[in-house]
């Protein structure tokens, strides 16, 4: 029992940092760059993706025995497209302003390679419980990445966060950050930072191992 709970926790936690879909696996870049010009858009996009990923992982893991191997990709895509249609109409009914801002990028969740990747690599091979855990973790990592990028771009590009002015009149916003080039540049720098953190950690672990060896 304790073993299985441990595994659940592992599947949940790995998506947030160690196997983060955006920063480490570099998947799902298109929505990542396109909708992160403000933090609120980023969160809405993340929530929609979370709904689609968890829903389709659940269905795929449930029906994995009945999906023929040769046409599995088409089956996954149709399941994903169904959930995206639901998410699209729900957003339109609940928060039409955000739906209008995200525009064509909600239907484009279908082509998010992260979602198809999780179905192919994980949900179609594991139990329903683990698949849902994995989907939750991966989408949490995706939301985290979207929010980081969205917050950085909004703070630098409009001087505000969630539409609340942060600096008063004292800050000249860098317009470039909310325009397309800002997305590429910010994500590039964040990846650089991620590489740096991983690199420092490796050096640190190496030193610890060396100290242990010389100590004993």
């Amino acid at each position: 029992m304790i073993e299985s709970e441990n595994q659940d926790y592992n599947e949940l936690i790995k998506g947030i940092w160690r196997d983060n879909p955006v920063f480490v696996q570099v998947l799902g870049m298109c929505p990542m760059l396109a909708v992160t010009n403000s933090a609120i858009n980023a969160i809405a996009m993340g929530m929609a993706t979370l709904f689609v990923l968890v829903g389709s992982s659940f269905l795929v893991a449930t029906f994995k025995k009945w999906i023929p191997k040769q046409i599995r990709i088409s089956c996954f895509i149709i399941i994903i497209a169904t959930f995206v249609t639901v998410a699209d109409y729900t957003l339109l009914a609940l928060i039409p302003t955000v739906h209008k801002e995200l525009g064509a990028f909600i239907p484009l969740i279908v082509a998010n390679c992260m979602i198809l990747g999780r179905q192919e690599a994980f949900a179609s091979k594991n139990t329903v419980r683990l698949a849902v855990m994995d989907a939750l973790g991966m989408s949490a990592g995706f939301v985290f990445a979207l929010f980081t990028l969205g917050a950085v771009r909004e703070i630098l590009g409009s001087g505000s966060l969630f539409g609340v002015d942060l600096f008063g009149g004292a800050f000249e916003p860098w317009i470039i950050m909310i325009l397309p080039p800002g997305g590429f540049l910010t994500l590039g720098l964040i990846l650089f930072f991620f590489n740096w953190v991983t690199h420092r950690r490796e050096i640190f672990l190496e030193r610890v191992a060396e100290a242990e060896r010389s100590g004993s």
């Binding site: 570099v26 998947l27 870049m29 298109c30 760059l33 396109a34 990709i73 088409s74 895509i77 149709i78 497209a81 169904t82 995206v84 249609t85 699209d88 109409y89 525009g103 064509a104 239907p107 484009l108 279908v110 082509a111 998010n112 390679c113 198809l116 470039i176 325009l179 397309p180 080039p181 800002g182 997305g183 590429f184 540049l185 994500l187 590039g188 720098l189 990846l191 650089f192 590489n195 740096w196 690199h199």
Partner: protein, 192 residues
């Protein structure tokens, strides 16, 4: 005629699919390591875009006015089967080209630029000719962006880059600078 030209130039340069709309980033970053392959992939994508635009127009005019909620599902099915069909066709007709394209051909299915094209041209209510022109412009725009990045990447391999920023991080920054350059085209047609 002038309107068609405007649509073409707009999707080719001003609203470039990759550098302004962020569509098709995955192949843009993933397979742009040599000029040769990125040019071929660009042409294959353009071809799939043309066929998709055609199918999207047929679907929009005859089927989807009765069932708009099926739009997304029918588009993605059409794209997936078009790619599969083209794959079989090329395999039969020219095995050399098939081998040259390799894995990139099936990967076109998950290229969001194709689905994005179908959705954008539906949202803007493009007719038959406009849709085809839009697809041509978007496809060539995709090819241009791919070839530009591939060229820059080939150059940068010769220079000494710090190990920490090598790879995706640097490619993204190069893409950001390219995208900044493409913003200059925005003033091209100030009257419209």
């Amino acid at each position: 005629m002038q309107e068609l030209f405007w649509i073409f130039i707009s999707s080719l340069l001003i609203n470039n699919f990759v550098l302004t709309y962020f569509l098709g980033i995955c192949p843009f970053l993933g397979v742009s390591n040599s000029l040769e392959t990125s040019f071929r992939l660009g042409l294959a994508t353009t071809f799939v875009m043309l066929v998709t635009a055609l199918c999207a127009w047929v679907l929009n005019t005859y089927l989807l006015i009765y069932a708009p909620y099926l739009r997304l599902i029918s588009f993605i099915v059409v794209i997936a089967s078009t790619v599969q069909f083209i794959e079989m066709l090329i395999k039969k007709m020219s095995p050399t080209l098939f081998r040259a394209l390799g894995i990139f051909l099936p990967l076109i299915t998950t290229n969001c630029a194709i689905l994005g094209l179908a959705i954008f041209s539906t949202n803007r209510g493009y007719g038959f000719l406009e849709g085809i022109t839009y697809a041509l412009g978007a496809g060539f725009g995709f090819t241009i962006a791919m070839v530009l990045l591939a060229g820059l990447r080939e150059e940068s391999e010769l220079s000494e880059v710090p190990a920490l920023i090598e790879g995706t991080a640097m490619n993204l920054i190069i893409a950001g600078i390219l995208s900044m350059a493409f913003m200059g085209f925005a003033g091209l047609f100030s009257s419209t």
